[in-house]
């Protein structure tokens, strides 16, 4: 077994991403520019979300447009537990993820009989129902006023830090975790079942795959990582509002890096986020708050261009030359 693991690590397919990840992880020890670190945090945050979405949409072929709602469920759960019972968000994160996964499984169980655009439509409807409930349930969620996370200063036990670096490492580890899980799924039998369902549901069923069961597994894994990113968001921004954290626009934002980078690939959503997030952040910084929607125009434009010119992702070609380069690396 040990020799096999050593063997694996000598293959460029494994060691090149590890080296890249190590470089990325080392950036905060090289620079102390807080804007650079903030930008990396936001990039990784969107990468985590899109990578999670990709498990359900890219691999299992179920295009959810309600992910933001479950993101919000988890963010609100951990924050409310923190406010009312001083529960540490480290624990609240997993309680929130539990709530989000449980509610998504209930909804998924009901909705997975629907296919194609109907599934997407019903996830939008469910997302809107949850958003409106949170918006109108003011006594619990603060409603349209929003919810402030109480400031604790530099308090690692409460998931709050004055420096940005700890946040960077937390989201970095989340990114590694979701990527490793995706990699595991991709190379296991479950992954093959997912792809079979995506390619032809009827054929998959006739081969004896329990399609509802495997769709639910994909959904649970996908929502779990979306949900823990939700608590991260709450702890990093320290403010929650149903219209920003749970909106349809945010669901689309979650999906976008994966669509642009390449759905059903492991690195596509990550690369998509490294391209899209800096664009939107720079536009936001350049134009200020008054032009809040401009980056969404650009996102919409990129989405249209991707669909028309590179339906399997802008980065497919980059990925191909990347894989060709891998073959030339030592051990390849």
């Amino acid at each position: 077994m040990k020799i096999k693991a050593l063997d694996n690590i000598l293959r460029p397919k494994i060691y090149v991403p590890l080296i890249l990840a190590a470089f990325l992880g080392a950036i905060p020890s090289v620079t102390s520019n807080s804007y650079v670190i903030h930008l990396l945090i936001i990039i990784l945050f969107h990468a985590v979300l899109s990578e999670s979405w990709n498990i359900l949409a890219g691999f299992a072929g179920q295009f959810s447009l309600g992910h933001a709602a479950f993101f919000g469920v988890s963010a609100y759960t951990s924050t409310l537990l923190f406010i009312s019972w001083k529960t540490t968000p480290w624990l609240g994160m997993f309680i929130g993820a539990g709530f989000a996964v449980a509610s998504s499984l209930l909804i998924g169980f009901l909705c997975f009989r629907l296919r194609g655009p109907f599934f997407s439509l019903v996830t939008i409807a469910f997302g809107e129902v949850l958003r409106l409930l949170f918006l109108n349930w003011g006594s619990l969620t603060g409603g349209p006023v929003g919810l402030l996370v109480p400031l604790m200063g530099d308090s690692p036990i409460n998931f709050q830090f004055l420096s940005r670096k700890p946040y960077f490492y937390i989201i970095f580890i989340m990114m590694l975790a979701v990527t490793c899980v995706t990699y595991k799924i991709r190379s296991s039998q479950i992954g093959l079942y997912f792809i079979a369902i995506r390619e032809d549901e009827d054929a998959a069923q006739s081969l004896g795959i329990d399609i509802i069961r495997y769709k639910l597994i994909a959904l649970a894994v996908s929502i779990f990582f979306t949900a823990i990113a939700g608590t991260f968001y709450a702890q990093y921004l320290l403010f929650l509002h149903p219209d920003s954290a749970m909106s349809l626009n945010f669901s689309v934002e979650i999906a976008l890096p994966a669509i642009v980078g390449g759905m059903g690939t492991i690195c596509g959503p990550l690369m998509g986020s490294f391209i899209l997030t800096p664009i939107s952040e720079f536009i936001r910084a350049l134009l200020g708050g008054g032009y809040a929607g401009v980056y969404l125009i650009i996102h919409g434009g990129i989405l249209i261009l991707t669909v028309l010119s590179a339906p399997s992702g802008i980065l497919e070609k980059i990925m191909k030359s990347y894989e060709a380069a891998l073959k030339k690396m030592p051990g390849g």
């Binding site: 072929g61 019903v122 409807a125 401009v294 249209i304």
Partner: protein, 290 residues
């Protein structure tokens, strides 16, 4: 007293339902002819609302007059969107079609947000707020007039689809694209015109709606989903189904608002949508096609 409340809710529900019907027959026409689920439908309506608003605010043109402008303009916008974008994904996987119309939605909404800000606007015409009393029930004049125009337009579209040669060709395209092509029907042209007509319908509805409804860049999304609800209720692609579906949605929203709570009006729509999709995805009113 109780029966007056009920009658009031039924009347205002049906009046709103007439507009939903017009929006929904546009959507079902597009779906029927192209099998495209257009997420930007409500946002085209929003564009028409702003055109109406600016024509009224800048030049004092009455909304009911400006309908002769918004309908052709929206027809052109719709045709251009179909020709340049939709046309290229007609044979693509459903995911591509979905993302394309989502992209159009994002761009339209946020261009509007950039140009006109997030402020809620409303048209204040001389007849805004005026009501007529029919029996015990109060009816807003703009609502009544808009309902009437919407029903007339829907009827005209029905006549177009059933009585004219072009309408019949369009229905044939909806039934079977390949056979229609063999019969000498210019299918790509039908598809462009169908998208144009669908957009003109939702444009007209936007103009009619703006006489009594607020206008904002994001007003469209709810209407897109409402129209989908009506279309699914009536059976995807069915004209009469979408029409009655629209009326039914208006009615149940209004009853829901009276008997549950006003702020949950949208919630009622979404929950109905979910229930219908889950319980009877083939629609309540049969399956006849456009």
């Amino acid at each position: 007293m109780e029966s007056v409340v009920l009658a009031q809710a039924i009347v205002s529900g049906l009046l709103m339902g007439g507009l939903y019907a017009l929006i929904s027959v546009g959507l079902t026409l597009i779906f029927g002819v192209m099998r495209i689920v257009n997420f930007a439908h409500g946002d085209l309506m929003m564009l028409a609302m702003y055109i109406t608003y600016w024509m009224f605010t800048l030049y004092g043109i009455d909304p009911y007059v400006s309908i002769v402008v918004t309908m052709p303009v929206l027809f052109v916008i719709g045709s251009v969107i179909q020709k340049t974008l939709i046309n290229r994904v007609l044979d693509a996987p459903q995911a591509s079609q979905l993302f394309l119309t989502l992209g159009v939605m994002l761009v339209t909404q946020n261009v509007a947000l950039l140009l006109w800000r997030a402020d809620y606007r409303a048209i204040r015409a001389s007849y805004t707020g005026s009501v007529v009393k029919i029996g015990e029930v109060f009816v807003g004049i703009p609502r009544l007039a808009s309902f009437a125009v919407a029903i007339i337009l829907t009827g005209m579209l029905y006549l177009f689809l059933t009585r004219t040669k072009m309408g019949k060709a369009m229905r044939a395209t909806a039934q079977n694209r390949e056979v229609s092509m063999l019969m000498g029907i210019n299918v790509p042209r039908m598809q462009t015109v169908a998208f144009g007509i669908g957009s003109a319908c939702v444009g007209a509805a936007g103009t009619l709606l703006s006489t009594f409804y607020y206008i904002s860049p994001t007003v469209g999304t709810t209407f897109t989903l409402t129209a989908f609800l009506a279309v699914v209720l009536g059976g995807m692609g069915s004209f009469t189904g979408a029409f009655f579906g629209g009326l039914l949605v208006g009615l149940s929203e209004s009853l829901g608002a009276v008997y549950i709570a006003t702020q949950y009006r949208e919630l009622v729509t979404f929950i109905m949508f979910i229930l219908i999709l889950l319980l009877k995805p083939s629609g309540l009113l049969g399956k006849s096609r456009v």
